[in-house]
Symmetry: C2
Subunit: 331 residues, 2 copies
């Protein structure tokens, strides 16, 4: 406090000088399980407290060779489910003692920069739900031997692990549920993604198995207006569906809104409706939507487990869903 002009951060040497001990003693006083006497540790720590010393963690990373950082790569499409996912994953990683480097990717240019950062910061691993993270990016990351965990991705290569929901099983369950509820004219409202394809396949598979006509399939985006537009198309169709499975809750809510506002129809009276993700809005009194909870906490735990595996490995982990039955399928 005398020499430095209140500019340079306090170092272990400063503390050592103040306490009249060696720099290594200071290091040991802040290292769990180090061989140091209680009296020495107290002396050092009180001197440290006085100076406002906080160990710099950057050199530690250099020495260990591991940064302790996990990159969380997120991208534009904001959906309430993604927010919940982000929260679950950051919580799980933090509890595992990892620090989270948040990287936002908006286009391919940003992606290149991100891949460089991943290597430059010596991250211990990467977690992403981003579909933009395709073959070439995966290859680039593999080249640096960084474990990657992807969510609901079809990708598969060295150093890539995938955590996925049982999408096919959920599609089958949706078909069974609505058939039991008396549905006869089925429809699927999807979007171009691996997860959507699997949900649709399961839906179609089960319908065929129980002797139902194949569903009417519509494609949209993953957003509310995608569902709304699809519903308008269905309202105009010759055979109006009475059992609709949507790729996610946002589109399902769009369908429900169009059903009521554009068609003057009611869910579930005029059509049963099933969504996916169990977002907060699905429980609102206006919707009471039957949906599938992806158990993001378990997915996050799985991701952490797969991430600590140091060897190159292609592993897939499938997390079961939880069916949340609400009013939209009540008959």
């Amino acid at each position: 406090m005398i020499f430095d002009g209140a500019e340079r951060p306090v170092t272990s040497h400063d503390v050592a000088r103040a306490a009249g001990v060696s720099q290594s003693a200071v290091s040991r006083a802040f290292t769990a399980g180090a061989s140091i006497s209680p009296v020495m540790r107290d002396k050092v720590r009180s001197a440290a407290a006085l100076l406002g010393y906080q160990p710099n963690l950057l050199p530690r990373m250099m020495l260990h060779g591991r940064s302790g950082f996990i990159a969380l790569v997120v991208g534009g499409a904001y959906n309430p489910f993604h927010a919940a996912t982000l929260e679950a994953f950051s919580r799980a990683l933090q509890e595992a003692g990892k620090k989270i480097l948040l990287l936002q990717v908006d286009d391919d240019r940003a992606l290149d920069a991100v891949v460089n950062d991943l290597a430059g910061y010596r991250v211990d691993g990467v977690v992403s739900a981003l579909s933009i993270l395709g073959e070439e990016a995966a290859a680039a990351i593999s080249a640096h031997r960084i474990p990657v965990v992807l969510l609901n991705s079809g990708l598969s290569s060295e150093w890539i692990r995938v955590v996925e929901t049982d999408n096919h099983g959920a599609g089958r369950a949706a078909a069974r549920l609505m058939a039991r509820g008396g549905g006869t004219r089925f429809a699927y409202v999807g979007a171009p993604s691996v997860a959507s394809a699997a949900r649709k396949a399961g839906f179609q598979h089960e319908l065929a198995k129980i002797g139902m006509a194949p569903p009417l399939c519509l494609e949209g985006n993953l957003d509310h207006d995608g569902g709304y537009a699809a519903a308008r198309a269905m309202l105009a169709a010759p055979m109006r569906p009475d059992a609709i499975f949507c790729v996610n809750d946002l589109t399902a809510i769009g369908v429900a809104d169009a059903w009521r506002i554009e068609g003057g129809l009611d869910v579930p009276r005029d059509a049963q409706l099933v969504g996916f993700d169990n977002i907060a809005a699905s429980a609102w009194p206006a919707y009471r939507l039957t949906t599938f909870d992806q158990n993001v906490d378990r997915m996050a735990a799985e991701a952490v487990r797969l991430l600590v595996s140091p060897a190159p490995a292609t592993e897939r982990s499938c997390v079961g869903f939880t069916l949340i039955e609400r009013h939209s399928t009540a008959r």
Copy 2:
């Protein structure tokens, strides 16, 4: 590739040896604007590419004393607006060349750990919308001389900068708008927060100024069910309000739902309704909610500007709102 068992990351020394040059040459080949001949740079870079070398950025941080990290501190309450905020801020910080350390705080215990990390990782600054980041935490961060930017916070101390929306002005605008629309029995649905208090004060101030009776004030949480419960109370009240301003869109949507489902009433016929935040759902056909956009991109830009200021300073920056008029106030 011969000696190491494919374990140790490639260093600049490895590249130097492979290219037959000095380690400094390698450093220069990867430093923008360094004094190096094109032929040398190409030689080094091709050798680097061959070995898969990526400069380690950690030592650079040690030398500079600045990490280039900005801590983004987020907390439990997930609201679509927070997701949009997070996106805007991470984008702005990334464009400013900062790396984002995402820290999740759930309770006071986690907060202590976070404050330690802030110092340990030598972050260049902290951004947070968290109200949990109170006096004592702020003091702890100030002690490490780390600039902090808070959103819509009333806090004020050394090293703390605040970016806020013109909450008071928005409250006044909401009052004027609904009075012009013919409202006579006003209500405010709030929550315990500094921002809510300012919005309410502006609302009350303007109503008094134009000679209206003071609004009925209800307190809830910031979520859908808070608005729903408040609306049920209003429906049971002797003088049912006909002009309602809500602390945010989620509560406003809750009010709209209760109005329709519990009361069989219509917005805007039976009551005008104004929200805050301009979340995606506010534009859905079922709500078409008049609301205030906080211009998060501008807030994020302001935050970045305040963050780069190295000196201790107490600065406040007020970002104007944009009124989004929709059907819920159409008369």
